[in-house]
Amino acid sequence: MARHRSAALVGNPNAGKSALFNALTGARQKIANYAGVTVERKSGRLVLPSGEPVELTDLPGSYGLDATSPDEEVTRKVILGLHPGEAAPDVLVVVLDASNLEQHLVFALEVIELGKPTVVALNMLDLAERDGLTIDPVALESELGVPVIPTVAVRRKGLAELTQAIAEAEARGPSLRSPHEFMAERRLTAHAIATSAILSETARHRLHARLDRVLLHPWLGPLILFALLFVVFQAVFAGATPFADALQGGVDWLGAQVRALMAPSLARDLITDGILSGVGSVVVFLPQILILFFFILALEASGYMARAAFLMDRMMAGVGLSGRSFIPLLSSFACAIPGIMATRGITDPRDRLTTILIAPMMTCSARLPVYAVIIAAFIPNRALAGGIGLQGLVLFVLYVSGILGAMVVAMVLRASLTKGAASGFIMELPKYQMPRLKDLAIGLYQRAWIFLRRAGTIIFTVAVVLWLLLNVPRAAPGESQVDASIAGHIANGLAVVVKPIGFNRDIALALIPAMAAREVAVSSLATTYAVDAKGDDATARALGSQLKAHWSLPTALAFLAWFVFAPQCFSTIAVTRRETNGWKWPGFMLLYLFALAYIFAGITYWSAVALGL
């Protein structure tokens, strides 16, 4: 069998590595984590001119081999062959941004110094030319002593030449390691090489400067940011509805098919009520997640995301975080899962962990159905002064409570568990670029796949377990199934625990299946109160009047307060486990959020009782 051959792309962040990687390997990429760390390992197949395949990996962007972040640490270890379970790549492809030559050469020199077979891809040559730079690749090649291939990844220019050069470099094998230079020396060398390779240059990128003058303008900048966010959220909530409805319809249709094909049995119920409705209730969030990720990826690829971080940094610094935490937290308003997945962009591990831990407190869209039913049933639809509706005000207070809670927890965590010097905020603001549809499509496909794999494994298991809890053992004739089930018994125990915060046994029972997804609480309450759940307005009204008959107002308010904090979503816990590489932090997250939910529901209940509501 042929030896397993490999090459790796290395380079500064924003050198256009990912676009080059997509262009070289196409859509068939493998995404995993590097052993022991939550740094994404992206690999794909590159076919050499000889027809032989090479495994190409896209190493995390790095400014040098002195690692300061987990990402850079991975790059360093893989290049040097020190990463457990990773063979050192046979060929290193250093990707340079042609329009930022001097800065990018510093890392290139450090890599070339190692004496491994190295090829330089002089990328984004078109942007450099647009910028008024004329670069001589031949001069660069003779100065660096390794092949330099001009490429424009987004136009697929220079790809064949680059592949050929990779094959030749591999055949040539390693050369002698050059004497080690210090950073300051390398910087001087980089300056000298850049000066000799740049034939002519005109004034600096005017377009970028002009865009930045508007987008980073002291008050216009934040205004544009919030307008943009408004559009994104509008698209996420309004745009996803038809797709989510279609998915729900598909799940219902599948359930109907199973019901028609199988004789009534426990196994049939497990498939329809357990698996299909459990997994289905999470999968319906896929359209929202995809739309959200589409915007995140597009904003990232365009270079705007770094500007958003810049604009929000000061506010985030107030709670010990940085501008980089802004987008993950914002995404969490749609769903904490993409939010937590987006924390990979945060360089500092402590900042990242803090952001993951507070993300579930952002009011996600799964809470809305719960809020909507309770508010409609208990809060009178009355206008307050200034045309503000009381119902809307309550909803607003729920959102704000989550945000305030998250801020306080972030401050407490930063002073205790995730204590340490703040990483500050040091971030390159990349050049603006038109996002490429193909790169966006690849990114979206990868996100969708990760999400569906979650739904297919963990959420599937949870759905089955919850169904078993609710259906085993079977009820005797005349006895209700929920009362006879394990869940019913758990609810009896739980009822004692939640009685002090004003919850009755029906609520305790609804909280158990709601662990799959928060909005399931609505349908399980509907089941408990024997309302025919069809998910329409009539159901909501019928459920509302039932709730009013069984709950007091303080209980309803406490229930709302509970949902602001309670981590009632196994998918979030699962994604936290994945992103923190263990059960320690998701366990902590569960505990502290349940504690907060309990305390605040209790405070709400007893305050409301004391006020005579």
């Binding site: 400014y63 040091i426 603001l429």
Partner: protein, 79 residues
Amino acid sequence: MTLDQLPLGPSARIVAVDWSLLDGEEAQRLRALGIDEGAKVSVAHRGVFGGGDPLALTIGRMTVALRRSHARAMQVEEI
């Protein structure tokens, strides 16, 4: 004058950096971006709040955001 006092626009050279004011990792990160003694920089943008925090520096053909606390550690001379 320290870098955080540099007005928007004019170029300046970093003449001295008080590394003791910076966390080790931060210092390394800044140096990797070329923000070091001898570098020619200018302030391109400032944040809205907190007295213009953070700052966006132009260095070569790059724009780099950093906090005022970092800029305060750097002595600059206008050129």
